[in-house]
């Protein structure tokens, strides 16, 4: 199977919606693309390395990250003690979405390993996609909140 034939769009959407539904009881709806570069946000990232290499990022705005944390941990928003809790939850979300994608890739013959999640937070930054064999960006909405899930994959490490 060629990497270009891997159905990244379907798997990425499916993994994201399942994780949000199961862990957070949040039903996401897909949205048109938006410019989040200037928005204060938290990005959870995991990397893939092996027969393919790649990265999966989940961008959520600060208020959405707090709402996600509250839902995941069964708390009220004002009970969230620190950024550490929020970062851990967003990291875990990226691990779950990345883990699902990694499994699909391995089952399709693209054996790879998944990294431990990392977190970036702030504003005035964009992530550009260059030199990847397949890539996908999907914007989701939950109530007034926006999330961007993106995956970039190429052959070899």
């Amino acid at each position: 199977m060629e990497l270009a034939a891997f159905d990244l769009p379907t798997f990425l959407r499916g993994a994201t919606q399942e994780v949000f539904d199961t862990m957070l009881s949040m039903e996401l709806s897909e949205q048109a693309s938006q410019d989040l570069c200037d928005t204060n946000r938290i990005v959870g990232s995991v990397s893939l390395a092996g027969k393919i290499s790649g990265t999966i990022n989940i961008h959520v705005t600060d208020p959405f990250a707090h709402q996600i944390t509250a839902n995941m941990l069964g708390m009220e928003l004002d009970e969230i003690d620190s950024d550490e809790e929020v970062h851990d939850v967003i990291g875990e979300l990226s691990n779950m979405i990345g883990g699902d994608l990694k499994s699909r890739l391995c089952d399709a013959g693209f054996t790879c390993e998944l990294s431990i999640p990392s977190i970036t937070s702030g504003k005035d930054f964009c992530i550009e996609s260059r030199g990847w064999a397949v890539n996908e960006r999907v914007y989701f909405q939950y109530q007034e909140h926006i999330a961007l899930i993106e995956a970039f994959i190429k052959n070899g490490g």
């Binding site: 399942e18 009220e76 809790e85 691990n95 779950m96 883990g99 990694k102 089952d107």
Partner: protein
């Protein structure tokens, strides 16, 4: 004496979800952040079960499990592996490690409890014992032949889980003791939310199935708000506990 369960995960989030899942049960949770900590805690605490993540820094779950299998004192402790990867190769690898079971993330707390009860029985915390962190039993009290269920002012997810978990055994206890009346006291609640509506519906449905008549008491504002929800619009609301008692 309850069970001791060791959860080993680098994610505090997952450890909190595991702790929350076991909160209604007579279980002591011990936590480790990686395989090295997990091994040390397993040797010290001798848990009845280990819930072990695979991908962790310092020492991963597979390495920790391999080391446990070399230790006569630890090799027979049942292990449930947690993994974010459901791929065939990964599952085969986990099975070959000699675990009792595995769970793929994302998962719900109830699913974890189901897996654990396949391995060992869990005992619910005693209904009348004072529970930690707002155990559901403190919401129930008996007033003559009427069971009172007083919902706290702030509805948090753990509270809902605790009340729901306590509800079925409480209803069973009531019906076997001939108690057929319950007052659902919502007077402390100041505003509605979806969680509250779901909790009310759960209480009413379960009570109806158990043959227990429930009368609901709420303040005027909350009573009006409940009328506006399709799910609760038809529920008769009493404005004081005395009114409800008189209505029985």
């Amino acid at each position: 004496m309850g069970l001791k369960i060791l959860t080993v995960d680098d994610s505090k989030t997952i450890r909190m979800i595991v702790k929350k899942a076991f909160r209604p049960y007579d279980v002591q949770i011990v936590e480790g952040e990686n395989g090295v900590e997990g091994l040390a805690l397993a040797a010290k605490e001798k848990p009845d079960l280990i819930i072990l993540d695979i991908t962790m820094p310092v020492m991963n779950g597979a390495e920790m499990l391999a080391k446990m299998k070399e230790e006569p004192d630890l090799k027979n402790i049942p292990v449930i592996m947690l993994t974010a990867e459901a791929g065939k190769d990964n599952v085969m690898r986990i099975v070959q490690l000699g675990v009792k079971d595995y769970m793929v993330k994302p998962f719900k707390g109830e699913q974890l409890i189901e897996r654990v009860t396949n391995i060992m029985p869990l005992t619910e915390k005693k209904a009348d014992a004072p529970a930690e962190e707002g155990g559901g039993s403190k919401y129930f009290s008996l007033d003559g032949d009427i069971q009172m269920l007083a919902v706290p002012a702030k509805i948090l997810r753990p509270t809902i889980v605790e009340v729901e978990t306590q509800l079925k055994p409480k209803l069973k206890e009531m019906t076997s003791g001939g108690i057929k009346k319950m007052i659902l006291d919502l007077t402390k609640i100041k505003e509605t939310n979806v969680s509250l509506i779901k909790l009310i519906i759960t209480i009413l449905d379960n009570s109806q199935m158990a043959g227990v008549k429930v009368l609901t008491v709420a303040g005027a504002t909350l009573g009006k708000e409940l009328k506006d929800f399709q799910e609760t619009g038809n529920i008769p609301i009493h404005f004081s506990v005395d009114d409800a008692k008189a209505a029985f």
